[in-house]
Symmetry: C2
Subunit: 359 residues, 2 copies
């Protein structure tokens, strides 16, 4: 029995990927070993890692002058490692504050540099993306940091910021691979894997190669992007099994038609839920329509005393992890690539039925 | 078909663990989810993590005043994070240099503090552990760092150093859980999981609680031991699937009779190989008999022109990953907990046959 899992991450994975992983667990392709048991320097695992990277490059059309790194520590670690790796001789960076994850990035960066918040959506409780013309960018900044999809607030950039000569750095943890992205517009794209890529414990960093080599002397070698890039992410032992699972996810995405096909499905899935939210007074979503996330859809019941009953009923209908993040409360449906349309249809049907019996 | 895998890490795992993982891949205990898909804040995963920690505490008899942290980044990351977390107001630390891994720790620590090498085995090419009475310890050191099993050189401490009031910090990556350890004699025990614990991508830190709270301001939150201890290693998303597999390994160890039973088997396995190495001139091991590792056994063929033939023949007999580390050359057999006695018997039989036909 499989359920519909709306967790914000770690999150639902494609069932085909899990079947492959189960089948290959004891003996990968006749090697007599599990992928978990393979030396990261053996030909079997190097083949797995190379194919994962090649497939990711195909999916996102990553230009040749970008390095792809498979690291550890998640986005929270990268929040510290980004200033460590990018500051060079600069002393400050610009941050755009669109919610909880932006705030975490800002807090962490302050340990290493002067943080200038160039725009903030705090005035409207983080329910929108501040438009580009309101940004007060600093030409001396080492970089401009954005979180292009706020997992908790459900706010997403549907446009690419212009930052001139200053590199744009984007935390795409919770919407990478869900939509087409012009990588060349970014200096660095990073994210934890545990939403659209694979298991928790793997961190993806895509970095333009001219930005390498500016790490502060305090940067740990294991997290020094230049040292890792020079060693194909194998300066130390990488999270091998997570890379393997990510590779299976990339194969699945290619088989499904790639990012363009996936984006079309994601637009349809999100529209189904937002359309219903907009036509009922029983539930509501606070985000400005043009800035709504396709991946993470927070909503509140008008009568919050019904929250527990809503969650219990959902569980009874095999839908789990709909409770909103403790920072904002209410509900949240995370509908990543691996969430089938049927899952969103089931959720909307349940929400309608719950409204009918409790409205 | 399963082979005998002598990889130094990632390394062989118990077959029973892999069977369980394969069976539970799509639906863990009727939850309708893979462990990989579970929110780290859901009751299912919290149960898995709590049981893993409890079983590890039982196995190693970890005292209550020690925190167990499940982190990311491997031992190489911890080499930086140890000074970051422990220096406090101190400016230096003592290191004992017993080989390649000690050298990595020393190199990394120099980014953060004055490193004093209190003893070194470099004079004899790292083939022994410098005896305690030769150590020049510094009473002002923030800690004394040792690598209690050198994975590359095959040197192991069979005794516990005395460091007085200064905390003893041990990298036990490649022999933790292979032998009884009196945790109370150490301030910090740490290691990458990919030898005796589980998959690569998980880092274990066992730290005495009075040593927490001395982190330098530059410590990333994701790697701040105090912050992680205060949040049960869930300040950020932990490597959930790796923790689950580690938990299955801990269950297997308990079912096998715990650490005492495992140590007995490990002594027998290592003796089988060392006894043969000591009675032939065809192969040799350079390490002082009293300091030999039970886990990692490097050896050389007297005639190194036979190396390729030796490895090819081993592969033909379903024994892989016997090539020594590039830093030292020759061969290496890593015989961790999950390597059955039959694997070592098969290796010795093959070595004898190879000697007979090539000697």
């Amino acid at each position: 029995m499989r359920i519909f899992n709306f967790s914000a991450g770690p999150a639902v994975l494609p069932e085909q990927v899990l079947h492959r992983a189960a089948e290959e667990m004891l003996d990968w392709h006749g090697s007599g070993m599990s992928v978990m048991e393979m030396s990261h320097r053996g030909k079997e695992f190097i083949g797995i890692a190379d194919k994962a990277q090649a497939d990711l490059r195909t999916l996102l059309a990553i230009p040749d002058n970008y390095k792809v790194l498979f690291l550890q520590g998640g986005a929270m670690a990268e929040n510290a490692l980004i200033p460590m790796n990018l500051l060079g001789k600069k002393t400050g960076a610009d941050y755009i504050n669109t919610g909880e994850w932006s705030k975490k990035s800002i807090k962490e960066a302050k340990k290493y540099c002067a943080v200038h918040v160039a725009a903030s959506a705090e005035d409207k409780n983080f329910t929108y993306v501040p438009p580009q013309d309101s940004w007060k960018l600093n030409q001396d900044a080492a970089y401009v940091h954005v979180c292009t999809n706020e997992t908790i607030g459900g706010v997403e950039y549907h446009w690419v910021p212009q930052t001139g000569e200053v590199p744009l750095v984007a935390d795409m943890s919770s919407h990478i691979l869900s939509r087409a992205v012009d990588v060349a517009r970014y200096g660095v794209i990073y994210g934890g894997a545990q939403k659209n890529i694979g298991p928790a414990g793997l961190t993806l960093v895509i970095v333009r190669d001219d930005l390498l080599g500016q790490a502060l002397p305090i940067t740990p070698s294991a997290f020094n992007w230049k040292e890792q890039a020079d060693n194909d992410s194998m300066l130390n032992t990488p999270p091998t099994y997570s890379i393997y699972i990510a590779g299976l996810v990339f194969e699945w995405l290619l088989a499904e038609g790639g990012i363009a096909a996936m984006e079309k499905k994601n637009i349809a899935k999100a529209a189904l839920l937002y359309d219903y939210l907009d036509q009922t007074g029983f539930y509501s979503n606070p985000v400005a329509p043009g800035d709504r996330s396709r991946m993470n859809i927070p909503f509140k019941l008008k009568d919050e005393s019904l929250n527990e009953a809503f969650l219990k009923g959902a569980q009874k209908n095999d839908m789990v992890q709909l409770k909103g993040h403790r920072a904002v409360g209410g509900m949240r449906a995370s509908i990543y690539n691996a969430m089938p349309l049927e899952g969103v249809q089931a959720l909307v049907a349940y929400m309608k039925e719950f409204e009918r019996t409790n409205g």
